[in-house]
Amino acid sequence: MKIVVCIKQVPETNNVTIDPVTHNLDRRGLAGVMNPFDKNAIELALHLKDTATEDVQVALLTMGPDDYAESLREGMAMGADTGYLLSDRAFAGADTLATGYVIAQALKKIGDADLILFGRQAVDADTGQVGPIVAEFLHQPQITYAASLRLSGKNEVTAERLLEDTKQTLVAQLPAVVSVRSELNTPRYPTPRNIQLSFDKPLTVWHHDDLDLDDSRLGQAGSPTIVTKVYAPKPVKRELTPLTGTPSEAASQLIKALKGRQLI
């Protein structure tokens, strides 16, 4: 069985600032770390590897600059077998669609993945879109926000999916794309020894020419969305609506207001 976990590297904190002159994001001095939610996806893959009766190979896949290799190493230190880095200037500036396209093309080249896993979303951009986009490009069914997942038969997984107030049980024939909730598991720590040994595991870097790509769908040019403005939100002082009169009168005003906000 082959599992590919798609991961992203994100800034170590979300405390980014805006350059007052250029109005660009100032990410100087912010080290990159693996998107924390992606560790849950890796943990799921490793758990399947640890418990399945068949041989399970876990590969990691990411797209980004060369230093994203650090996150691949970290995932390999957790226990993944191999890593793929998709790195090329042509991929830069991609939105979720252009990113999903390159990831999908890389998955085709890796081939035969039974399970393609994603974290629920990246903590920086917070979209959670790339998983479903990849599933669509690969014509695969998807289970997003899985709260649990187990192998329930040959080439079959059973998952629970938690919607806001509904729990679904889904059964998928593999291959399938799954994104996982962070409540699913507690990711293991890479042990110090496995950190060292991860540098002996294969890490493959694919550039533009290594993949079968339509250039018009890459990077900024291949991204339908354009960011026109970036700004730091002003802390909004809330508009206070006073409740007045006797406690009883005030309570009834509040109930009306909360009903309007669909809170009760």
């Binding site: 290799a69 190493r73 720590y189 042990t191 110090p192 020894r193 950190i195 060292q196 540098f199």
Partner: protein, 373 residues
């Protein structure tokens, strides 16, 4: 791309920070209150591979060098000095087996250092800083050795399963043997009730007619003094690292508090009296860091580092106590309260003016080294 070594160091420290923040740091105050680490704590630490950080890969460890190992303890101590000191005691012992043990002894013992804690024991009731005053002995009987004696104040004593023990093999001859808690004649004595580093057990072992073969002799007969000094040197670098971590913790408490509070209408951050204290804490922390990292660098390069290691601990221990005192004063009433960790950091730091050689003894060693230049 950074070198493999640098990348591995970064990943290790990142992992150490994560684990410390989530698993070790939250236990710091409870450990101090309970006087012990909680059940399961050491097992988790072991499962996460912390015991093997500096153990060579051939023995199943990670094989990080002296500089990275010291940094790892520095980072752990930011959240919990006790845990860092427990690892310090373990690592310094492994270091002596690596330096002085025969290949056969290493092969026999070291693979288990990934999941068993090791300890180095010198002190006896008759006096800590006078090795020849000890009364433990190893005597030759037939083709093996018989060890008798009583060792106290052992870092990790009672927790560790493997002990390097300093004994007399002749009236003026000190040697080191390795004994295991499973050997007949081995038993644990009392645990010390110390005022700080409550998560690090310090206790006694009693050796009553323990029989070992020649292969459990570390180094040669008569090497005891050299091995003991070497263990001190290695421990002192790591203690400098632990003290740096304590001071980073103190500095964070002091600056967080100062940024939040006002004296009357004036923010504490605008008061010169705060500036002076915070700057002093920061300078003490940074000088200690430079001292321990310098000693670790010399060690990694195979150069002498005994004097530099002594400086890291002698300077760092008083620095951390003073920095704690300044932090306490910035927090005033809260600093004196058990609700904040300041008072317990001072108690933790205070231990390191005594353990692994008193600061007085280290100053003598530093001065002697200077006279001899």
């Amino acid at each position: 791309m950074p070198s493999t070594t640098a990348a591995a160091e970064k990943l290790l420290l990142q992992m150490v920070d994560d684990y410390t923040e989530r698993e070790i740091s939250p236990e710091d105050m409870p450990m101090d209150a309970a006087g012990d680490f909680p059940a399961g704590f050491m097992q988790k630490l072991t499962d996460t591979g912390f015991l093997g950080i500096m153990l060579p890969q051939e023995f199943g460890g990670a094989g990080f060098g002296p500089e990275v190992t010291a940094k790892a303890l520095n980072h752990i101590a930011r959240g919990n000095a006790s845990t860092a000191v427990t690892l310090e005691g373990h690592f310094k012992t492994i270091d002596q087996i690596l330096k002085f043990g025969t290949p056969a002894l290493q092969k026999q013992l070291l693979p288990s250092a990934n999941d068993r804690i090791f300890a180095f024991s010198m002190t006896e009731a008759s006096g800590g800083s006078n090795p020849l005053g000890i009364s433990s002995t190893a005597t030759r009987e037939g083709d093996h050795w018989v060890i008798n004696g009583d060792k106290i104040m052992i870092t990790n004593g009672g927790l560790a399963q493997v002990y390097c023990v300093l004994v007399k093999t002749a009236p003026k001859e000190l040697s080191v043997f390795v004994v295991d808690q499973d050997m007949p004649g081995f038993s644990f004595g009392k645990r010390e009730d110390f005022i700080g580093l409550s998560g690090t057990p310090v206790g006694e072992i009693v050796m009553d007619h323990i029989i070992v073969d020649d292969d459990h002799l570390l180094g040669k007969l008569g090497d005891g003094g050299i091995i003991g000094d070497s263990a001190h040197d290695d421990a002192r670098i790591l203690m400098g690292a632990v003290l740096t971590g304590i001071m980073e913790h103190e500095l964070k408490i002091a600056t967080d508090y100062a940024k939040e509070r006002k004296a009357g209408d004036t923010p504490l951050t605008a008061l010169q009296v705060t500036h002076r204290k915070v700057a002093d804490i920061a300078m003490r922390k940074e000088t200690t860091r430079l001292l321990y990292q310098n000693a670790a660098k010399l060690k990694a390069a195979g150069q002498p580092y005994s004097e530099e290691a002594a400086m890291a601990k002698a300077h760092g221990s008083r620095a951390a106590v003073s920095a704690g005192d300044d932090t306490l004063q910035i927090l005033a009433g809260y600093g004196y309260s058990r609700e904040y960790p300041v008072e317990h950091l001072i108690r933790d730091a205070r231990a390191m003016e005594i353990a692994e050689g008193t600061v007085e003894k280290m100053r003598s060693a530093i001065a002697t080294a200077e006279f001899n230049k």
